[in-house]
């Protein structure tokens, strides 16, 4: 899968997993922070996203520090998925 295609898929999955009713994939910029500013996600959302990575891509993140880096924005998430996905 091309990176651009994967980014779109991840954005759609974030919207579905986090029930972001009023957000469209094109509203999420690739380099926009997912937490705090930008999309404005919180700590519960971070757990939801770690579960998303596990279920959809077979990625198991156990270290919270690593999780924080991976979930910085769409670019970091997709780069990590491309390197570590098992499915």
């Amino acid at each position: 899968m091309e990176t651009a295609e994967l980014k779109l898929q991840v954005k759609k999955q974030i919207i579905e997993f986090l029930n972001l009713i009023s957000v469209k994939p094109e509203d999420i910029k690739d380099d926009e922070p997912l937490f705090g500013e930008g999309l404005g996600l919180d700590s519960i959302d971070s757990i939801e996203l770690i579960v998303l990575l596990g279920r959809e891509y077979g990625i198991d993140i156990k270290d919270p520090k690593e999780g924080r880096k991976v979930l910085t924005d769409i670019n970091t998430m997709v780069a990590y998925i491309e390197q570590h996905r098992t499915k």
């Binding site: 029930n19 404005g40 519960i44």
Partner: protein
């Protein structure tokens, strides 16, 4: 006794936007589903995690909870609360073999989630209790509020009843024969003459206190009983009226919880035989559908009828009166759980 100062509801009939009780929205797929507003008072980040019962409960309560006049506690009745989310979470446990579980469904899945969310959103650290006794959940919340006010007469409380149609609960109850098997319009619900009722959902909220200032209605008495014996229920109602109706006063409106189910109709007709000739009989469940805490919406309608005229389509029996001072609510859930509530007008 308690005084009702403010009311709010969300139901099938768009009561939130305007108390338009002339309107009758009809069922879709045999369900009377609540029409939800935009919920402008719920922060968007919190709203997206809420299931329907939580949205309805919190959405109906927040307009009553002002920062300048906070309540001292939150008392809720909900038979099923976050059942939909609970089942989603349980299904995840099975599907993912207890491994990858998301917290969103879990935090919404408990019985006390509506009162809990309200406490968190409004930073209310007072008494926070949810009653879950099926068809008497709301009535037990009312009894709790009365006891709290007896102990703390200067306090005020948010009192409410909420339930949603969850797919899991609907399927189980449909298999058990609780609902009507045939398609029935709620405009002819009481003529159906068949077993089962139309399922509904909604939320009704009240700010109550023991202070007789600026109140809409006075809830003077409440009683509950578990029984399948029609004569026993009728005798209990007779005793309830003898004990609680002030001398020289009469019930001028009987707000019946009749729901079109021919299995529970005999309870209502038995209770109607105790009424005087000049007591009007009014029904509301063609508007709301039936569900365990539908009586909370019944109380909301009673408060409305103390202030405005009753629409023609709600009358079972009309009298010459056009305004009402004493309203008796009788509700019956599944022919087993019964409640009597006496409500009077401010004067």
């Amino acid at each position: 006794m308690l005084y009702i100062h403010k009311t709010f509801s969300i139901s099938v009939q768009q009561n939130l936007l305007q108390a338009n009780i002339e309107l009758i929205n009809e069922p879709v797929n045999k369900k009377l589903q609540a029409i939800e507003p935009a919920y402008e008072k719920i922060p968007p980040g919190i709203l997206r995690r809420m299931g329907k019962s939580i949205r309805m409960g919190v959405g109906a309560a927040l307009p009553l909870m002002s920062e300048t006049d906070p309540v001292n506690g939150i008392i809720m009745g909900s038979a099923n609360a976050g059942m939909e989310e609970c089942v989603k979470f349980l299904n995840q446990i099975v599907q993912y073999e207890e491994g990858q579980l998301t917290p969103g469904n879990f935090v919404q899945s408990t019985g006390n989630v509506i009162a809990g969310q309200l406490g968190l959103i409004t930073r209310n650290k007072g008494y926070n209790v949810t009653h879950v006794h099926a068809g008497l959940a709301f009535e037990n919340a009312v009894l709790d509020a009365i006891m709290q006010l007896n102990t703390n007469p200067s306090n005020s409380y948010l009192l409410g009843g909420v339930d949603e149609i969850s797919s899991f609960h609907y399927n189980i109850e449909a298999l058990a024969g609780t609902y009507k098997k045939e398609e029935v319009s709620n405009k002819v619900l009481y003529e159906a003459g068949s077993p089962g009722y139309l399922v509904g959902e909604g939320a009704a909220m009240f700010v109550v206190s023991a202070e007789a200032n600026n109140f809409i209605a006075k809830l003077t008495a409440i009683a509950t009983i578990h029984s399948t014996d029609i004569e026993l229920v009728q005798a209990q109602l007779k005793m309830f009226l003898q004990k609680n109706l002030e001398a020289g006063t009469a019930i001028d409106l009987f707000l019946s919880g009749e729901n079109g189910d021919n299995r529970t109709l005999p309870f209502y007709t038995a209770c109607e035989t105790l009424l005087a000739d000049d007591t009007a009989i009014v029904r509301y469940k063609h508007m709301t559908g039936d569900f365990p805490t539908a009586s909370a919406l019944g109380l909301w309608y009673a408060c409305e009828f103390l202030q405005q005229q009753v629409p023609q389509h709600m009358f079972k029996k009309k009298t010459s009166k056009t305004s009402y001072r004493n309203i008796l609510l009788y509700n019956n859930f599944k022919g087993l759980q019964h409640s009597f509530i006496l409500v009077s007008k401010a004067w």
